[in-house]
Point group: C2
């Protein structure tokens, strides 16, 4: 397996454009509940030819996640759409949207009249000089296990210390992703991605009713697979299921699909199902441009 | 049992004084990892006659919590002590200290040279018009259960969605605290406090090796109890242990000790052990003034 020797950590360039509650700024009150308690949600959206990809799905997840976290959503969708209208054109970029419960006093109780904070940031698209979509990546098993919190499962919320600590477990730049198990020993997700395995031409991905983020790209890949008559199962998956798989890949809205080539001592080939899903995503991109 | 009919939620007055990284301001970068991931810790300190109470213990916990979360602590203690030196005198107040991993790009990986952010805020002390220290309080059992995350257990970190959702379970102003069980069904803590029970003159408090915040007041009460030859046990406690107790109380650095008077259908008296611990805390306060 060829592994690129370049460092994969590319420091983020400065934000290209930012709106906070509809105004051009880059700061937030120190009393915002997003900071105090992580009381908020976020979305990370790929922008191609000026268009935020799968934006309806991202905004829909954001709104329903806010509702689960008791963050009021009156006018929120319209406000976010207006914020997104102000984005300058870029060929390729990343939009990050954060919505929090807004400024509140000390104490966990929601203020009587919570007013959400909105942050919309446009970043340059990260460089991946080692072409992981084509070459595939090396991954590792993380030591830390994701706790089971059904109330929060699936939500892309701002309480991400488990992911931070998981990502801090390794510094080897050749390892591009870590796989997290849940405390029930089933596979949950990657630190920044969802996981699929392929076995006997069936696509399988972990059930996320107890932990994890229900990724927009994960759901989109499930949809694409069904459209191409590929059988898809959402179910608990063990470490052995993965090690015994024909193909394994990671996905999120930015990386789309990164095939797994190596984990611990085991190697994988990039298989036909993975390649066909990558092609299907690529075809959608062409239609957009 | 007398229950005050006044609303107990007193909206916080504006912050009296605030330093962010040693400068007078009240905002933080929207790219701070405290906001993005809850990658930080906080302390809430009572101020009496200009003196932050148990400040050495608070700062020591903050530093060791930062270390557990991979937040660099070089010079942090000296910087925080310098920040605290700028606090204006108040007879009674609350200092909130937040330390985060600082500004970082998108992505969970720590920046190569993380520079922590420090926030030191002085608030007015909250009013408790129904005198819960003397009168005792009514509490409830929360539905949400705390997940077991040994890596994060004990730390007062900024990932507090479980507490936010627990506190959102009730709006009845007569109920002043909710008790959280862990996912293992043992008692963990209150939404904003630690819990002690007294049974046959022994003080007992939950083991917090799997969840919860190891409160400064909790540890101080354990120390006070030992000094007065009261036997103390830290151990797993069940709901039945609490219901079967002679006395129950909640504690934190601000409320100090609030006796439990009623939970669901069961009533408790405020007993001699609770009162003697309150007196011991009061005596320390007098020595300070």
């Amino acid at each position: 397996m060829h592994i690129c020797s370049e460092l994969h950590f590319i420091p983020m360039a400065d934000v290209i454009h930012e709106l906070v509650n509809g105004q051009q700024r880059n700061d937030l009150s120190t009393q915002d509940r997003g900071l105090s308690y992580g009381h908020g949600v976020f979305e990370t959206v790929k922008v191609v030819a000026g268009e935020p990809i799968l934006i309806d799905e991202h905004l829909q997840r954001l709104i329903s996640s806010c509702q689960r976290l008791k963050i009021p959503t009156d006018n929120l969708l319209q406000q976010l759409i207006a914020d997104l209208d102000y984005l300058p054109y870029v060929d390729l970029g990343v939009v990050k949207i954060i919505v929090t419960a807004g400024v509140g006093g000390r104490g966990y109780q929601l203020p009587d009249d919570p007013r959400p904070s909105r942050i919309v940031q446009l970043f340059p698209f990260p460089h991946f000089p080692d072409n992981p979509s084509q070459q595939g990546i090396q991954a590792r098993w993380c030591d830390i296990q994701l706790s089971s919190v059904p109330t929060l499962a699936g939500i892309k919320h701002l309480n991400r210390l488990e992911q931070v600590l998981a990502r801090a477990e390794w510094s080897d730049p050749h390892i591009r992703e870590g796989i997290l198990l849940g405390s029930d020993q089933f596979i949950a997700e990657g630190t920044m991605s969802n996981i699929f395995i392929v076995k006997d031409n069936t696509l399988k991905t972990p059930d996320l009713s107890r932990y994890g983020v229900e990724g927009i790209m994960r759901n989109h890949i499930i949809k694409l697979a069904k459209q191409s008559d590929l059988s898809v199962s959402v179910l608990p998956l063990t470490k052995n299921d993965l090690l015994d798989a024909d193909e394994v890949f990671f996905c999120n809205s930015l990386i789309e699909i990164w095939p797994l080539r190596k984990i611990a001592q085991q190697s994988f080939e990039v298989g036909a199902v993975t390649r066909s899903l990558q092609k299907a995503l690529m075809a959608e991109s062409y239609h957009r441009c």
